[in-house]
Amino acid sequence: MKIEQTRDNSTLTLALEGRLDTITAPELEQVVNANLEGLTALIFDFAKLEYVSSAGLRVLLSAQKKMNKQGKMEVKNVCAEIMEVLDITGFSDILTIV
């Protein structure tokens, strides 16, 4: 998985490419944790993401909990296959999908 980071003041956009699974989820968690300070908006761009497994959902949940305390988090460009995973797991209610 590739993670492209774009920081604009207190907004961080993470564009993910490939597969967010057991192997790659810890990388994403590290990037999120390393950038949290002073962050008021965290945007995930899923345009080039192929799929998300529960390991990836765990990172998204943890990021959402942290951003609830200091700003907002949004997920954009979610494809139908990933949307189904988010729907089944109830994550479409937890996350802000734009």
């Binding site: 057991t22 192997i23 192929e50 497994s53 529960s54 390991a55 909990k65 797991t89 937890i94």
Partner: protein, 135 residues
């Protein structure tokens, strides 16, 4: 087609090898992209579960495609501790964010996206099989 089999070390990074094995096996049959993604996610969930909880050193995977029905089956066999993930209660997916926990979500996802799942303990081994119509 004849069943195909692969044995890998019970290590998380070997999941990619399993995914590649299954994708190359299914490719000639032109599976739907959606079914392929769902099978890939199921492999990640089931294999990581075995690696983290069974204590097994290796995992053998037997793959089979029933051509007349296009039903693909994948059986994960390990010599680890008896472990039936299907006994775990489904997570409550309606809880608000602060109360949500992630345990059990992977197997829940597998149960919801596969057509059938089956667990059996025989000859001191765990057999976990997923079934999915690939088109």
């Amino acid at each position: 087609m004849a069943a195909k089999e692969i044995t890998v070390d019970a290590a998380l990074e070997k999941g990619e090898e399993l995914t590649a094995f299954v994708e190359s096996m299914l490719e000639p049959y032109d599976p739907s992209p959606k079914a392929t993604i769902q099978v890939d996610v199921a492999i990640d969930e089931v294999f990581s579960n075995i690696v983290m909880y069974s204590g097994a050193k290796t995992v053998t995977v037997v793959a089979n495609l029933d051509e007349p029905t296009s039903v693909f089956s994948l059986t994960f066999i390990d010599k680890g501790n008896p472990y039936n993930p299907l006994e775990k209660e489904d997570p409550d997916v309606s809880l608000p964010v602060e109360e949500r926990e992630i345990g059990g979500l992977g197997i829940f996802l597998v149960k919801k996206t596969m057509d059938d799942v089956h667990y059996e303990r025989k000859a001191d081994q765990n057999y976990f099989t997923i079934y999915k119509k690939i088109k």
